[in-house]
């Protein structure tokens, strides 16, 4: 099966059986979206909670609150149905104990909260989460099955 990589502030949507991978999530959050009926899947790698958190808003994939609606619409265009879509989240860690500015201190946690709130507003259920702590994570969505694997240093691979 083909492996597709997702960079930071980016996403991929597919209705074909592929592995969509995003590597090295720290405070960023990976959001896997999947419709088990149409087998349309998507993986988003957001870096900030809301578009109001940046002076530069052109890239909608950068923010949880703008990336999620954008990707859901794209999934629907490929045949997914909103009521079938489930979400899984990973990331949102705090990698350094010394965080200099107040604005960014709890950015990982804020990313997770913003993603959860946006999903709720969009009517998408969160099936599982592997978030917080102080570990980096790699996240992989298999669109043939909807399985999501999270890999971290020390804890190995875990299905969520």
């Amino acid at each position: 099966m083909e492996t597709i990589k997702v960079g930071i502030a980016d996403y991929r949507v597919s209705r074909d059986p592929v592995n969509i991978v995003t590597v090295g999530l720290g405070s960023c959050v990976g959001i896997a979206l999947y419709d088990p009926v149409s087998k349309v899947g998507a993986l988003i790698h957001i870096m900030l909670p809301r578009s109001t958190d940046s002076n530069s808003r052109e890239n909608k994939a950068k923010f949880a609150d703008t990336a999620i609606p954008l990707v859901l619409e794209e999934m629907e265009r490929l045949g997914a149905r909103r009521e079938n879509i489930v979400a899984k989240l990973a990331g949102g860690a705090k990698m350094f104990s010394i965080m200099t500015t107040e604005q960014i201190k709890h950015i990982g946690e804020r990313n997770v909260i913003a993603a959860a709130e946006t999903l709720k507003a969009e009517g998408v259920r969160i099936a599982s989460m592997e978030t917080g702590g102080s570990v980096g994570r790699t996240m992989e969505l298999d669109t043939s099955s909807g399985r999501v694997r999270v890999r971290s240093v020390g804890a190995g691979v875990k299905e969520i």
């Binding site: 502030a9 720290g26 960023c28 870096m47 940046s54 890239n59 010394i98 570990v135």
Partner: protein, 201 residues
């Protein structure tokens, strides 16, 4: 922001000087020669900086934010084996397992980072005649991508691009020990350019 050729040259010289000083601070602690590669510098989209890293490789990262008359972020990344060697030199043979975040190990790396970052920022401060204050370094042992994403997030609050300086830290001919990165957003870069233009060349 477009940089003039002369400004680019001066910036390169400045960063080169800082990195050379940081490498010699490391060399003193390692008790062996450490050199730097020819530095790369450019204005990059944030997403491309991330792509340049071997994101999943487990590394030791040291992070510090410069403030005062200039604003920038320094990130030093050591390959794990080399960080282990470094800790062995500093603390003796008994220690040196980096996987566990032992307090002694982390504080030894933090101390090394402190020396390197001070050497870097002092070189800049002296050359430009400005005040540069580094924050106490943070240390993390994890995937390279995960350690750098925090810096990318911070830069992402200001814009889509960052001024980016990168050099390899080398021991013996050819052996890569790690990397030194300097990141700046456009606003910080403009301020630095103003200072550069005032320095007599």
């Amino acid at each position: 922001m477009e940089l003039k050729k002369a400004q680019r040259e001066t910036l390169k010289k400045l960063a080169d000087m800082g990195a050379t000083n940081a490498a010699s601070a490391l060399s003193m602690m390692m008790q062996e020669p450490v050199t730097i590669s020819v530095p790369h510098q450019d204005v990059y989209p944030l997403t491309r900086i991330y792509q340049q890293l071997e994101g999943e490789q487990e590394v030791v990262g040291i992070y510090s934010k410069l403030s005062g008359d200039m604003t920038a972020t320094i990130m030093i990344i050591f390959k794990k084996d080399h960080a282990g060697n470094l800790v062995r030199v500093l603390l003796g043979d008994a220690v040196g397992r980096i996987s566990a975040m032992e307090e002694m190990t982390i504080s030894a790396i933090q101390e090394t980072g402190n020396h390197m970052i001070s050497a870097f920022s002092n070189a800049l401060a002296d050359y430009l005649g400005i005040r540069v204050i580094p924050s106490p370094p943070g240390v993390g042992v994890d995937m390279a991508g995960a350690l750098v994403d925090y810096t990318i997030i911070e830069l992402g609050m200001a814009g889509e691009v960052a001024y980016f300086f990168h050099t390899d830290l080398l021991i013996e001919p050819g052996a890569l020990m790690g990397h030194l990165f300097l990141f700046m957003d456009s606003e910080s870069m403009e301020k630095l350019i103003e200072k550069l233009d005032r320095v007599k060349r």
